[in-house]
């Protein structure tokens, strides 16, 4: 409900001309996406801790305040509930807030606002007060950070009615999914895989349309087993697929992208081809998103499945310290074991 005409500095209105694809890190791709969002959507505002002058602790908002002004890209006091609660009010005033929570573990202090307010305001107000908020959360482990600086909250957020959850796996996905998310009238939790921030990849700008931005994505086709992953685990699964090929096993890697809504059809289509599925995530096993994926696959592919869906996940322990991260995050061998189990399985 844009009740107001918002005069925003740095506004150009039109989407920039699509440039030739270029090599960018995910960090740079996200930065570019935010710049394009701010340039094309006068209601967009970026807020959070250290996002302005510093350009964010991961430099994702680098230079945006200089370009778009301190009104549209602003530092807040150090209080996550405040950042998200304020975003609710900004949305009610017609803005499209892009708040940042500096690290995944710091989303916990804001859970009340995320769950009880952002997730419900559209419902509570019967659609008159939508929440076009895209909450960026640097997510998952893999950088040997201190406690609470590496967490996997996707199951928690995906469980909340009213939220949508997405996690990109490449710079290209990061650019397009962020632009897509920011254009939605609903709240989106945007989980940035921080261990992938620095990996480069080809990024095409411009827009690729909802068909390109929605659902899952086959990151590598294969015919013997489907590895299902999102965020940072996609790259690891692609490595596994490469190794499995040495053993004559053709692994399909399905990048789920959207964790809510889950692409049930995409999942079913892949598993119908391969008849075996292994879901990989960093979060703890119990009540993790892998359980939901397994249920969806089982519901849809029970007859074609050659083996129960395997889950290769983190353990039911707190995210460990950096030195133990490699023991906790699914590694290549654990994923290979998972593949081996679904390949070996024989009925009866």
């Amino acid at each position: 409900m844009s009740e107001t005409t918002i005069a925003a500095p740095g506004r150009t209105g039109a989407d920039p001309e699509p440039a030739a694809p270029r090599q960018l890190s995910m960090q740079q791709a996200l930065n570019l996406a935010l710049a394009d969002i701010l340039a094309t959507d006068p209601a967009a505002v970026v807020l959070g801790e250290d996002v302005g002058t510093l350009g964010g602790v991961f430099r994702v908002t680098d230079g945006l305040q200089g370009r778009f002004g301190a009104a549209r890209v602003f530092d807040t006091p150090l209080a996550e509930s405040g950042i998200l609660g304020m975003s609710v009010g900004l949305a009610m005033a017609g803005f499209h807030p892009l708040p940042e929570v500096q690290f995944d573990g710091f989303a916990y202090p804001a859970v009340n606002q995320i769950v009880c307010q952002i997730g419900r305001m559209n419902y509570r107000s019967r659609g008159t007060l939508p929440m076009p908020i895209t909450l960026r959360v640097p997510s998952f482990g893999g950088i040997r950070a201190p406690e609470h600086h590496g967490e996997s909250l996707e199951a928690l957020f995906a469980h909340v009615p009213g939220l949508k959850v997405v996690s990109p796996s490449t710079p290209e996905e990061a650019y397009h999914l962020l632009r897509y998310a920011a254009a939605r009238p609903d709240p989106v939790i945007f989980m940035e895989p921080k261990s992938r921030y620095w990996q480069k990849g080809e990024v095409s700008t411009g827009r690729r349309g909802a068909d390109g931005d929605l659902g899952s994505r086959v990151a590598r086709p294969g015919k013997h087993v489907t590895l299902i992953a999102w965020g940072a685990m996609v790259a690891r699964c692609l490595q596994v697929a490469e190794l499995a090929a040495e053993d004559g096993i053709e692994v399909e890697v399905l990048d789920l992208r959207w964790l809510k809504p889950l692409d049930a059809e995409g999942l079913a289509a892949s598993v119908r081809r391969t008849r075996r599925a292994v879901v990989v995530h960093e979060a703890p096993l119990t009540s993790g998103l892998g359980a939901e994926v397994a249920a969806l696959v089982t519901e849809r592919c029970f007859d074609t499945l050659r083996a129960p869906v395997e889950r290769v996940t983190g353990f039911d322990v707190p995210y460990p310290s950096g030195d133990l991260e490699d023991e906790y995050i699914p590694n290549i061998d654990r994923i290979l074991f998972g593949i081996q189990r679904v390949l070996e399985y024989r009925r009866g």
């Binding site: 890190s25 602790v57 990996q199 053993d247 290549i332």
Partner: protein, 109 residues
């Protein structure tokens, strides 16, 4: 890696140029923030400029005796464009290591 260029800063009081006296660093050298970079002399006084940036020196502008204008490039650093955030480390791309071999043969029917 990215290049980061710094111009001769405004030395105040309306001075528009300075003469390079001596470079205290040279290309290829790794410098710390605040480390002395160069001695320059203005019509007012001689000053030593501290480095605004940590990084590897790629290029310097102005041999001793040369004049450099305020705002013109003075030094270029090479800085890591994959610097970690405030915590943690940048994961290195490593060749995948494996111990497990897949032995099962999928039945093709």
């Amino acid at each position: 890696m990215a290049e980061l260029s710094f111009p001769l800063p405004d030395l105040g009081e309306g001075l528009i140029e300075a003469t390079v006296l001596e470079w205290l660093v040279e290309p290829g050298e790794q410098v710390e923030r605040n480390q002395p970079l160069v001695e320059v002399e203005t019509t007012k006084s001689a000053v030593e400029l501290p480095s605004p940036q940590a990084g590897k020196v790629l290029r310097t502008y102005g041999v001793p005796g040369a004049k450099v204008s305020v705002g013109e490039p003075l030094i270029v650093f090479e800085v890591a464009d994959d610097a970690a955030g405030i915590v943690g480390t940048v994961p290195r791309d490593e060749a995948p290591k494996r111990r497990v071999r897949l032995t099962a043969v999928p039945d093709e029917d």
